[in-house]
Symmetry: C2
Subunit: 393 residues, 2 copies
């Protein structure tokens, strides 16, 4: 066989989602893009902030020696410092440029983290429902995924996590605000998790790392604040991306922030830098490193997403759908009116509505709506949503 056996089996597994995606393309060709309500992808449609656009043009014109040259593997010192300063300010932690490693988005960051941490057979706890790429990222480095469910309201189920921890547990990955649920874990919830990890770490005489995937950290509504895991737990690592904060997912820019109090801090940071290099990222894109250094306090207009959430929630509630109102990100995880979520998503598809079955996220019985779309898409889809749920009665 030409390709690796593991990759071959991954291709077979992921073919259902691809099939759905391809059906979407066909629908758009047949009916026109404005007659298809595509809630399948988390590709932000909100404009970049004006400051970003201005800096990009400025930077494009600027004369800087070796402007597009290799940067240090960890990234430009000034970019790392700008990020550390901001984290220090918001958390009160003593964190320096040395604790930051620039990355190709959060996806790149997580691969580098798992490559640096995992020996084959090490277990990583993933919470259902989860971002679909986590199992790949962990298994890439011989890690073993151990699943634990969240509670009915998608908050952390500390008892379920406790049951999933054993002597092979190396890390747990959390994502708040969450994809696919939009949940933001409370300060108390994070504190309870930290307490559990400290207890279990002592019991098994090894550090259990808390990896916090935070691309949606700034996309929060109704004044909710995302509690800092760096403050809550020493053995914590943050994977961050500007993909959503600045609507830049195509440019692949993010970072890893390592808790200054983490176990063997220098050694771990050097390992992250080495892994950035040898995985072929080499370093994060240079131009974007310079831009984000200048835009540390700039975000897209979050109110736009909040308005979309409110429109969508009001419309779906009226039609009779059940869901937890999300506090962040731009996803809604809706209870499927029938137990078979794949079947229900097909019913939506018949109304030109593209959503993703919860089964794909380890959350069967639900479906995910990514509402980073035009208001018109939300408004015009409502009739189809109503018809689909009525069909189930």
């Amino acid at each position: 066989m030409t390709i690796a056996k593991k990759i071959s089996s991954s291709m077979t597994q992921s073919s259902m989602i691809r099939k759905m995606f391809e059906e979407g393309i066909l629908l758009k060709k047949k009916y026109g893009a404005d007659k298809v309500y595509d809630f399948s992808l988390g590709n932000p449609n909100v404009e970049q902030p004006d400051k970003f656009k201005i800096e990009l043009v400025k930077l494009a014109k600027e004369i800087i020696p070796l402007k597009h040259g290799y940067t240090p593997n960890a990234g430009y010192p000034e970019t790392r410092k700008a990020i550390a300063d901001k984290i220090g300010k918001t958390t009160g932690l003593k964190i320096s440029a040395n604790h930051i490693v620039m990355s190709c988005g959060a996806g790149g960051a997580l691969n580098v983290i798992f490559k640096a941490l995992l020996d084959p057979g090490d277990e990583v706890i993933v919470l259902n429902p989860f971002f679909v790429e986590y199992p790949f990222y962990i298994e890439n480095y011989g890690g073993v995924v151990r699943y634990a469910r969240t509670k009915e309201d998608f908050s952390l189920d500390i008892d379920a996590i406790a049951r999933a921890i054993n002597r092979k547990t190396k890390a747990i990955i959390i994502n708040s605000p969450n994809n696919p649920t939009g949940k933001v874990y409370s300060k108390k919830n994070i504190a309870d998790l930290a307490k559990l990890l400290r207890e279990k770490g002592r019991a098994y005489k090894r550090a259990i790392y808390l990896i916090s995937d935070e691309p949606y950290a700034e996309i929060v509504f109704d004044g909710v604040v995302v509690p800092s895991v760096l403050k809550a737990y020493a053995n914590s690592i943050v994977a961050y991306s500007y993909s959503k904060t600045l609507s830049l997912p195509g440019e692949r820019i993010g970072y890893i922030a390592v808790n200054p109090k983490i176990n063997e801090s220098d050694n771990l940071i050097n390992a992250l830098i080495l892994c950035t290099r040898i995985l072929g990222f080499v370093h994060a894109p240079a131009l974007m490193q310079r831009i984000v250094a200048r835009l540390q306090n700039v975000t897209i207009d979050v109110k736009i997403y909040q308005k979309k959430r409110d429109m969508l929630c009001a419309g779906l509630a009226k039609a009779g759908y059940k869901f937890e109102k999300p506090q962040g990100a731009f996803y809604l995880f809706v209870k499927s009116p029938i137990p078979d979520d794949v079947k229900f998503v097909k019913r939506l598809l018949k109304r030109n509505i593209l959503a993703v079955p919860g089964s794909g996220f380890g959350g069967p019985g639900y479906f995910r709506i990514a509402y980073c779309v035009d208001d018109a898409t939300i408004i015009n889809s409502m009739q189809g949503f109503a018809e689909a749920i009525n069909e189930c009665r």
Copy 2:
């Protein structure tokens, strides 16, 4: 232990080069950067072409829907088409956008290729001296490196390669123009390799893939042409980068070109796309994808490197150094006047000259000079080079 055992051992191994690099930083602080002759890094110092700078400003200002959004995992169709058209034109092959997968430079491309191809235990042939990252890239995916030496003039030693092939051989990686030697393999040399791989493939009843790492393809001198491996051998894959062609190593943009006649072509291309995604690259940076689509026939001024090569070769020959005059890239691989290349590089260091011992490239008894530096660096280093060789007499 915090970090993975394998990463820990890699960190110990690569500490010698890092020590050298850190000594260089100290020297520059002590004597001033202009008094230190740094030939250690392949970071192009030649300006980007004017057309690149113009396009970058234009693109920064352009209004395009979802300009910085996610691109397809394989890259923008128009970028892939532009590349396929160019390859088709120069090689006469029937190659389409479907055979191109955009990547984060050649480093990203090679990781994606090895991830897609290698099952644990599969062997990949690497030719000494080699680019230092190849063993990492192969071992990342459980591959086993099998070394074969090149000839005295750094051309392919077909007999040595034949001896290295066995039933576990999955691929061979070549790099022409070569880092660290500057060698360009001749058409005959490539044809002989192709013949051998076909024969061995038949004998072992499995395809042996020829992976050609070609970031220096356009950096060639004296009218030399790099023969196309795609034309020479069906089971071939090219990893390309714009890092050197457009002096853009910091922006991480390149591509994978799959031979249209390759074994199980569709399956392999889908595997490459999946691996781009799950390794966390997701896709190549969006802005740079758009730019390179518009600059398919643009390169930096190669004559600048040719002039540097000529200056350097003339100076070193006069001082009594022995080397093969390179036909491409911007490296010179010089015979160490004493057998211990690490010791000799330390003697250069005493004259504020930074070079890299050949041992680091699997080529002991040599040292590498990266001459992508100012002319002044070459000129002013000559006295130190002369002193260092005289000390050996």
